[in-house]
């Protein structure tokens, strides 16, 4: 583009002209860059904001009185009602679901996340075959959440920490990345 510039009216030596052109080009690039970068950077900062946003803290959430969970080894589905921050809203609402089951004689229930570790569909419990079945890509899991092969799922259903306190079942409800062999909590 420097060639296209009109020649200066006063005769100047060639190196001088080259230097002037070079300096003008540098300034043009710098100033042009600044005017482009400022708005772009500001847009980028907001665009990248979700990377800084924390996931819902994994605290124990009250799910059900233990009385409501018979010790028959049959998994039962429970909605998880937890505080949820959705951008500008903070509310208490169902954020997901888990399966709880209590083995005969056990005090402590077992808890599995209802989210399929393959791609995140909602896994259904099939009472007839006593297995968990994902309605999407046919992953199937045993009562304890173990993979039934062949399955496209890379890992077993995600177990969640749970405890009984004051007659209540409390579950540490967490989201994990799907499609991985290892269970990694979403941060």
């Amino acid at each position: 583009m420097s060639q296209a510039r009109p020649q200066p009216s006063q005769p100047t030596s060639v190196p001088d002209a080259n230097r002037r052109t070079f300096i003008a080009a540098v300034w043009a690039a710098v100033i042009g860059g600044i005017v482009a970068i400022v708005p772009a950077a500001s847009a980028l900062a907001v665009f990248l904001h979700p990377l800084r946003r924390q996931a819902r803290g994994a605290t124990f959430v009250r799910v059900t009185p233990i009385d409501a969970l018979p010790d028959d080894g049959v998994p039962r589905e429970f909605a998880i009602v937890a505080e949820r921050v959705d951008a500008w809203n903070r509310s208490l609402e169902p954020v997901g679901a888990v399966y709880l089951r209590r083995l005969p004689g056990a005090e402590q229930p077992e808890c599995l996340s209802a989210t399929c570790p393959h791609a995140g569909c909602f896994v259904a419990f099939d009472g007839t075959s006593e297995t968990f079945k994902c309605p999407c890509h046919n992953s199937a899991f045993a009562l304890d959440g173990a993979i039934i092969q062949p399955s496209p799922s890379p890992r077993a259903m995600d177990s969640l920490e749970c405890k009984v306190d004051g007659g209540e079942v409390l579950v540490k409800f967490e989201d994990f990345y799907t499609g991985r062999a290892d269970k990694v909590v979403k941060q």
């Binding site: 924390q54 009250r62 409501a68 039962r76 208490l92 791609a119 890509h137 496209p152 990345y177």
Partner: protein, 779 residues
């Protein structure tokens, strides 16, 4: 005029531009095979026009996306047509893309000097697919929500950049407002912007190189206008006609549903997105089904398999397409490219068909063929040892059994899928029905309507909490046998609880049958004795009066008209109830009798009475000493943390049992108790207004930005109730078998059936319901 045109031309040179645009030379004459590019431009034009109009009415946030789409579809003039065109044109665009690609590849139009334009076309294809993917989520219904969850989760399997990329697209770790705002910005801003930019270059390059004409030329050269434009216009018209026909939902014409009108046409709208509500009908849009189906092929592949299926293989396929111009330089390159395309499209067609077949096969398979097999399966399952023993180690028979077992599993899976689709339709229909109610949609969003709707929640809650003992089955008056669910239940059938038929059955010999106390300790109780020994000798008309009077205590909305009409009979019945040797010997009834030995008949079966009974059947008002097995679901006042169920949940169960929920056109039903549901919100128990309820009520006044949508602190079992859910833990049955009186069956029972319309006759053929005890009107 001409002077003005001349002036404008001298300033802009528009004539040359128009001339260049219209009079491009078409070597060999206009042909139909050249129309695909133009139809795509037309389709994009339709998308822009309809999209902008949709944009003017759409609001991307978790509480307004579904709601605004509902409004477009159901309330705005011709909104269904606008949305329908946008929806189906998007699908048409994908089909046209495939046709355009085929035409380009088959004609070899990717070869020099058109390589760059071919690549631009592939980029445009990616952009169109991106628009489809992002648009699918925007209505924020269950279908779009779950499909998007899967799509974005698959993104996260990309090594290193996957997880942050997912987070950026989703707008955080969870799906919500910012998922919608980002998808919308992509759908309406970034992608169309890029598409326009690339399209301009694509068309400019196309003009630069001229059309890649088919040899040999069939006729003399012509120009774009008007010959080719005519052909293009006809093709565009055909595309539009197809889209308009699709908007009329031709599927319905043959399904016996008849042709619907207005808002029932066009694009579907599912129930609002709900992360806690199982949605087993989740599928991507049909043109992505092949990718969905492809993922199933990586069984046992683990993490790597998923990465291959979701990312690597599709990317390699795209790479092969991008390489076509280079491959095409070799001698056999063009043939290779055509073969590759045929194989790809064939594979896509196969996978799509396979996915459809897998989902829908139960619709055309006769399930009868599996009845015999089912017995064997029940016995053997997939247990290797049992199978080997059963077939005497005959490998052929074992293989055959395994094959049949697999076929049966596929059949059942398809059945489950179809059931999920049907259920999703019911939910969607109900969400729309509630949203269309005079009360409108609260600021908390339409999802709160479903969550507080007795008709939606009742069956789920009943299945989860009540069905382990009780049944809920309509029994026809002329039924020869009781439904299996009633026979299997160990506590009364609560269908039509406390209505005239139900009470008439209770006060007859049926009291000791399976529909009432037959399977409970009360079968041996004093009430059963009183009914069978004493009441049986009463005049029929007197029994009727007691039935009518007692049932009137329930104040069922469905019986309001009859109760009003039978005021005199009710009065007479009340006198009989308080008669010296009658009910008040054990029961309390208004001012007569005392509490302690049998349930209070004051307000028997009323909403308040039922809530009290479910909350604590051991209370002095109900069965302080003679409760059989019914657990207390809310022993402590209000919503104490140790209560099994919240007051709101119990209220939903009660409203459902009473058949009281919002139905369009029934608001004015002669009201017994407070109007069943003039507003859906009324279905929330009023005793203990939940946070949400109060917020809803105050919403207008306080202009609270947003009512939190489901404030119930205690999680309740989600909808799908395991066969026997919460087992009421039994009070020992032996505890007072001698029961002074009738036990209204209290906890909910079994098999949530379709919420009944009329109360069921208490039992089989000899329905005790007699003349005056008329069936309640349909609700």
């Amino acid at each position: 005029m001409n002077a003005l045109a001349n002036w404008l031309d001298s300033r802009t040179g528009f004539r040359a531009f128009v001339h260049e645009a219209l009079y491009e030379r078409i070597p060999g004459g206009a042909r139909w095979r050249y129309v695909w590019g133009s139809t795509l431009v037309f389709a994009f034009f339709v998308q822009v026009v309809t999209g902008i109009a949709l944009w003017m009415n759409y609001s991307p946030s978790a509480q307004t996306a579904w709601e605004s789409v509902y409004y477009i579809q159901y309330q705005t003039t011709g909104g269904w047509l606008l949305r329908g065109m946008h929806h189906f044109m998007a699908q048409a665009m994908v089909v046209l893309l495939a046709l355009h690609l085929m035409q380009v590849v088959i004609d070899g139009a990717y070869r020099a000097p058109r390589e760059v334009n071919f690549w631009l076309g592939l980029i445009l294809m990616q952009l169109v697919l991106g628009l489809s993917l992002t648009g699918y989520l925007l209505p924020w219904d269950q279908k779009g929500y779950w499909a998007t969850r899967v799509a974005t989760n698959l993104l996260s399997v990309v090594p290193y950049v996957g997880p942050p990329l997912q987070q950026l697209v989703v707008g955080g770790a969870e799906y919500g407002h910012h998922t919608l705002t980002r998808f919308f910005a992509l759908h309406a801003g970034v992608l169309p912007g890029l598409l326009i930019g690339f399209l301009v270059v694509h068309v400019a390059l196309f003009r630069r190189h001229g059309i890649c004409h088919k040899q040999p030329a069939k006729s003399a050269d012509t120009s774009f206008w008007p010959d080719q434009v005519l052909k293009d216009a006809v093709a565009c018209l055909a595309v539009l006609v197809v889209v308009l026909v699709l908007c009329l939902r031709p599927g319905q014409w043959f399904s016996g549903e008849g042709v619907a009108l207005g808002p029932q046409l066009g694009a579907e709208l599912g129930a609002p997105a709900d992360p806690a509500n199982q949605y087993s009908a989740a599928r991507p849009e049909w043109y992505f089904l092949f990718l969905f189906q492809f993922l199933k092929f990586f069984e046992g592949g683990g993490e790597t398999g998923e990465l291959m299926g979701a990312v690597v293989v599709p990317s390699l396929v795209m790479l092969l397409l991008f390489l076509m111009p280079i491959v095409g330089r070799w001698n056999l390159g063009h043939r290779f490219n055509v073969a590759l395309l045929v194989i790809l499209l064939g594979g896509i067609a196969y996978l799509t068909a396979d996915a459809f077949f897998e989902d829908y096969q139960a619709a055309w398979t006769d399930g009868q063929q599996y009845t015999e097999l089912q017995k064997t399966i029940d016995e053997l399952g997939s247990d290797d040892e049992k199978i080997a023993a059963h077939f005497g180690d005959d490998p052929q028979k074992i293989a055959e059994y395994r094959r049949q077992l697999a076929a049966y599993e596929r059949y059942r899976k398809s059945q489950d899928y179809l059931a999920s689709v049907a259920k999703a339709e019911v939910d969607a229909h109900r969400a729309i029905e509630l949203s269309s109610a005079p009360a409108g949609i609260p600021t908390a969003g339409a999802i709160s309507l479903l969550r507080t709707d007795a008709k939606t929640q009742g069956p789920k809650l009943f299945a989860a909490h009540c069905a382990s003992c009780h049944s809920y089955e309509k029994v026809a008056a002329d039924a020869k046998a009781l439904p299996a669910a009633v026979e299997a239940a160990t506590a009364p059938n609560l269908y039509g609880f406390a209505d005239r038929r139900w009470i008439a059955g209770l006060l007859s010999s049926h009291i000791t049958g399976p529909q009432y106390f037959g399977k409970t300790a009360h079968a041996e109780g004093e009430m059963a004795g009183f009914v069978n020994d004493t009441m049986s000798s009463w005049e029929r008309a007197d029994i009727d009066k007691v039935v009518i009077a007692l049932s009137a205590e329930a104040q069922l909305a469905s019986q309001a008209a009859s109760d009003q009409k039978d005021a005199a009979l009710i009065e007479a019945g009340r006198e009989l109830i308080v008669g010296e040797e009658n009910c008040i010997m054990c029961h309390k009834f208004h001012d007569a009798g005392e509490l302690g030995s049998a349930p209070d008949l004051t307000g028997y079966g009323s909403r308040e009475w039922m809530i009290g009974m479910i909350s604590n059947p051991n209370h002095a008002r109900f069965y302080p000493d003679t409760n059989d097995r019914m657990p207390a679901f809310a022993e402590q006042e209000g919503d104490a943390p140790n209560n099994r169920l919240s007051q709101r949940t119990i209220g939903l169960i009660v409203d459902w049992l009473r058949g009281e929920w919002y139905e369009p056109g029934i608001e004015e039903a002669a009201g017994a108790r407070e109007q069943p549901a003039a507003k859906p919100a009324d279905q929330v128990p009023s005793d203990e207004p939940s946070a949400e309820e109060s917020e809803k009520q105050e919403a207008e006044a306080n202009a609270k930005p947003q009512a939190s949508s489901e404030p119930e602190p205690s999680a309740e079992p989600g909808e799908k109730a395991p066969e026997q859910a919460a087992e009421p833990e039994a009070k020992p049955a032996d505890e007072t078998p001698a029961e002074p009186e009738a036990r209204p069956a209290e906890e909910p029972g079994e098999t949530p059936a379709e919420p009944a319309s009329e109360p069921a006759p208490p039992e089989s053929n000899e329905a005790p319901a007699e003349p005056s005890v008329e069936p309640a009107p349909e609700r």
